[in-house]
Amino acid sequence: MGEMIELEKAVGEITEIARGFGLDPFPIHYEICPPEIIYTLGAYGMPTRFTHWSFGKAFYRMKLQYDLGLSKIYELIINANPSYAFLLAGNSLLQNKLIVAHVLAHADFFKNNYLFSRTSRDMIESMTTTAERIRQYEMKYGKERVEKFIDAVLAVQEHIDPYLFQNDGNIKTNNGINDHLPNLQRRTEYDDLWRLEDRVEKNIEEQVQKKFPTTPEKDLVLFISEHSKALEDWQRDIMTMLREEMLYFWPQIETKIMNEGWAAYWHTKIMRELDLSEQESIEFAKLNSAVIQPSRRAINPYYLGKKIFVDIEKRWDNPTSEEQGQLGRKLGGGKKKIFEVREMEGDSSFIRNYLSDELIKELDMFIYKKVGNEWIITEKEPKKVREELCNSRINGGFPYIVVEDGDYSKNGELCLKHQFEEVELDIKYLEKTLPYVYQLWGKAVHLETTIENRAVLFTFDGKKNFRKFL
C-alpha cells in the first residue's frame, strides 16, 4: 500500500498547485484499475452503460491494440460531480502525476465550459438506470428484438439537437396531442394555446396545408420518438434514454481539441512546478512528447489545442500597440484571456477565432485529399486551412441532417434532408442506414442530398432502395 500513500500525497500536492493557478475543478475520485477496465471504459464511455455488441467490438479492438503494445490509454475521466478518473494499474508514480495534473484540467473544463453547463452531472447513475431498464425490456420482449431495435437507434444517434433543451420531458404530452390530431401537430412552445384555438373550429383544410414539421427539425431521434406510429412505448423509452446519453456526450465531441489542449497546457505547467528528480524529468519529457506528438494525417488535439492556448496567452500578454490602442488590450492579460476562452468557446469557434495565420504556418498545417491512389497535399493557404478545420468540427464532424417532411407524399412518409455544405455523403452507408430509419418510422423514408452537383432523392420503401434525380 506504500504506493497508494505516495500517490495520495502527490495528488494532494498537485491539486493544491492546480487550484493555486486558478483551476476550479470538480472534486475527483481517482480509481486505479486493470487494463480490461480502462478499455471497457474507453469502449463504453461509462462503466455502467447498457449492453450492446458494438461496445464489445470497440473493446476488443482497443484491448487488442493494448495487448500488441500499439496504443495505451493511461487515463480516462468522466464528466460528473464528483468526477471519476480512472488510472491504469501499473502506471509509474511519475506517469500518475502527469495524469493527475491532466485530469484536473479536464475536470475544470467540464465544470466551467458553457457547452457542458447543461450536461447531467449524475449521468453515472442515470446510465445505470438505463442499462437496468434495457435489461428488463430484454427479458420482457426478447434479447434479439431489443438488440435489433438498439441497432437502429444507434444508426441515427448523432442526429440530435443539443441546443433544444426546451423540449426535454415534453414527449409524453406531445404524444397525447398526437393521438387526437394525427399529422396536424406542430411543435412549438405554445402548443397548448394553439390547441385552444383549434377547438374554435378552424378550417381543417388550412391546417393540412401547414408543413409538418413547420421548420426543418434537426433532432431526428426526438422527432421519430415523438411522431413515429411504428413504435411501442418501450421503444420510445429506449430512444429517449439513448438521446439523453448522446446529449451528455455531445459537448465532449464538440470540444475535443480545446479540452485536450487545455489539459495538455496545464499538465505541462503544473509538472514544471513539481520538484522532479533528474530521472523523473527525463521520464516526463519522454511521456509528454509522446502524448503531444504531431501526426501528418490527423490533427493531434493535445498538440494543436495546447499550441493555440499558449499562443493566445502570448498574444494577450504582449498585445501590439495597435491592439492596445484599438482593442483596448492591456499588457499581461494572457491568463485571464485563456480562462475566458475555455469558458466561452467550442472547437469550431476556438479555431475560427484563435488559430492565427502565423500559427498555421508555424505548425506547417495543410489540407490534403485523396487523388487516385494517393493522399496529396492540396492547399497551404492559412485562411483555407482554418476554414477547413473549422468546418470539419461543425456539428461534431457529422453530416447535418434534418427532418424536412414528416408527412411526405401526404402519406405519413418521412423525408430527411442533408444540409449540403461541400462534402458528399457516402452512398453505400446512406443506403444501408435508411433501412434502420425505416425500421424506426414504419413507413417509406427518403433522404435528399447532393451528388455530383445534382440533387438526389434516396428512398427506402421497406424492400428496396431507390434513387432519383430531382
Partner: protein
C-alpha cells in the same frame, strides 16, 4: 467545503466482465454474418486463388455500424507537416485491397473503419461442410478398409522400455523413497517403472472415387471456367477433409478427353469444340479398369457450359445412362450465365433417374447452391426437389 477534493481508491474489479461479454456477442454476430455470406464467400476469388494457406480478411458487411457519414473519397482533411510540406506532396499511399476485388473501392484511409473479420479457409469449411455428405455412400463388403488408430491411453507396470513414462516413474520413485524416510529421487528400482500402453481402434471405411470432368473447350469463357474451378476447388477440399479414402480422378475434355493431374486440371486452358461423350467414355473406361463397382462407391461429376456438339447429344445420353448404372450418383453442373435454352441440360432433363442430379449456375453465389444440391443425402435432396415443385 465538506466534500473532500479528492479520493484515491483501488477497488476489486475482477468481476467486471462487461467488455468480454459484449465482445462474445460481437463474435457470435461475426460468425452469423459469415454464415449468411457463405454463398458469396464460397466464390470469393481471393479464396480460390489462395492455395488455401492463408488467413483471409473478409469484409463483413452487416457488422459495420452504418450511419450517415461523409464520403471519404471526397473529403478534405487537415494534417500537419514537419515544417517543409509542399502543395502537391504525396503524404501517403492507399493500400490496394487484397486480391482483385474489382470495383469494390479503396483500402484503408485515415479514420476510415472497414471491419474485416479474419477467418481461415478452415473456418469457412467447417461451417460450409457441416451439412454436406457424399450421397448414398454404401459399405462395399468386398473391401472393408481397416484403419488402425493407435492411442496411448493407459499406464501399466510392464511394458517396452521405449514407452517408459518418465514422469510417472519418477513420481513412483519419490513416493517409495519418501515412505522410507528419504524424500528424494534416486535408486530407481524395477517396481518404480511405469509404461505407457496403447489401444488399437479399428474403423471400417468405405472406398469411394470421384471422377471430376471439366469442359475446357473454347466456348467456356472466363466466367464459366472460374465457376467450374470454384466448384471443383471446394469439392476437392470437401472430400479431402471429410473422407479419408476418397480418390479423385481428373478428366479435362474438349473434343477429346484426357486424364490430367490435379494441378493441370486447375490450371490448363484449352480451346476447340465440345464433345462431352469423349469424357464420359473415358470415365467409363477408367471405372472398368481401376474401380470395380463391388469395391468402390462411384461419383462422376461433370461441368460444362452445355454447349455440346448437337450430334453428340444422343451418344452422351447413352453414356450417362451407362455411368449412372455404375454410380451412386451422377452430378451435372451447367454454367449458363445467359440462360441459353438448347443445351445439354435440356437433353439430360429427359433422363428420369433418381441418381442424376443437375444444377444450373447463373451467378457466382450459385456455386454454393450447386455444392449443396450435389452433396446432400438422398432424403434431403428429395425434400429439396419436392419443395421446388
Amino acid at each position: 467545503m465538506s466534500e473532500p477534493l479528492f479520493i484515491v481508491s483501488k477497488e476489486d474489479w475482477s468481476l467486471h466482465r462487461k467488455g468480454y461479454e459484449d465482445q462474445k456477442r460481437h463474435q457470435e454476430k461475426v460468425r452469423e454474418a459469415i454464415k449468411e455470406n457463405l454463398p458469396d464467400l464460397v466464390s470469393e476469388e481471393s479464396i480460390i486463388l489462395s492455395d488455401g494457406k492463408e488467413i483471409l480478411k473478409v469484409p463483413i458487411k452487416s457488422l459495420d455500424e452504418y450511419r450517415f457519414k461523409y464520403n471519404s473519397n471526397k473529403q478534405k482533411l487537415v494534417g500537419q507537416g514537419m515544417g517543409n510540406s509542399k502543395v502537391g506532396e504525396v503524404i501517403g499511399q492507399l493500400v490496394p485491397k487484397h486480391g482483385a476485388n474489382n470495383g469494390k473501392g479503396a483500402g484503408k484511409s485515415p479514420g476510415e473503419d472497414i471491419y474485416e473479420a479474419e477467418i481461415t479457409i478452415d473456418d469457412i469449411q467447417e461451417m460450409f461442410f457441416q451439412d454436406l455428405v457424399l450421397p448414398d455412400l454404401q459399405n462395399k463388403p468386398n473391401q472393408e478398409i481397416i484403419v488402425e488408430d493407435i492411442r496411448f491411453n493407459d499406464v501399466r507396470k510392464k511394458g517396452l522400455m521405449g514407452n517408459i513414462d518418465k514422469r510417472r516413474t519418477i513420481l513412483e520413485n519419490l513416493k517409495r523413497n519418501s515412505l522410507m524416510g528419504k524424500p528424494r529421487i534416486g535408486a530407481i528400482s524395477p517396481e518404480d517403472l511405469r509404461f505407457k500402453t496403447w489401444e488399437e481402434t479399428v474403423l471400417p471405411r468405405s472406398q469411394a472415387v470421384v471422377i471430376a470432368m471439366m469442359d475446357t473447350s473454347g466456348s467456356m469463357g472466363m466466367f464459366e471456367k472460374y465457376i467450374a474451378r470454384t466448384f471443383f476447388f471446394w469439392m476437392v477440399r470437401f472430400l479431402r477433409t471429410k473422407y479419408e479414402h476418397v480418390e479423385i480422378v481428373f478428366i479435362a475434355h474438349h473434343t477429346e478427353a484426357k486424364e490430367v493431374t490435379e494441378e493441370e486440371f486447375f490450371t490448363r486452358g484449352e480451346s476447340g469444340g465440345t464433345i462431352c461423350s469423349s469424357a464420359y467414355k473415358m470415365a467409363f473406361e477408367i471405372i472398368n479398369q481401376r474401380y470395380p463397382v463391388d469395391r468402390y462407391n462411384i461419383y462422376p461429376f461433370h461441368f460444362s457450359d452445355g454447349d455440346n456438339l448437337t450430334s453428340d447429344n444422343e451418344k452422351s445420353v447413352k453414356y450417362v445412362k451407362e455411368l449412372i448404372k455404375l454410380s451412386n450418383m451422377f452430378g451435372y453442373g451447367e454454367v449458363n450465365q445467359y440462360n441459353r435454352s438448347s443445351t445439354l441440360l435440356a437433353v439430360y432433363k429427359q433422363i428420369k433417374e433418381e441418381k442424376l442430379r443437375c444444377a444450373v449456375i447463373r451467378d457466382k453465389s450459385q456455386v454454393y447452391t450447386a455444392l449443396k444440391t450435389f452433396f446432400s443425402s438422398k432424403e434431403d435432396n428429395n425434400l429439396n426437389t419436392e419443395s421446388l415443385n
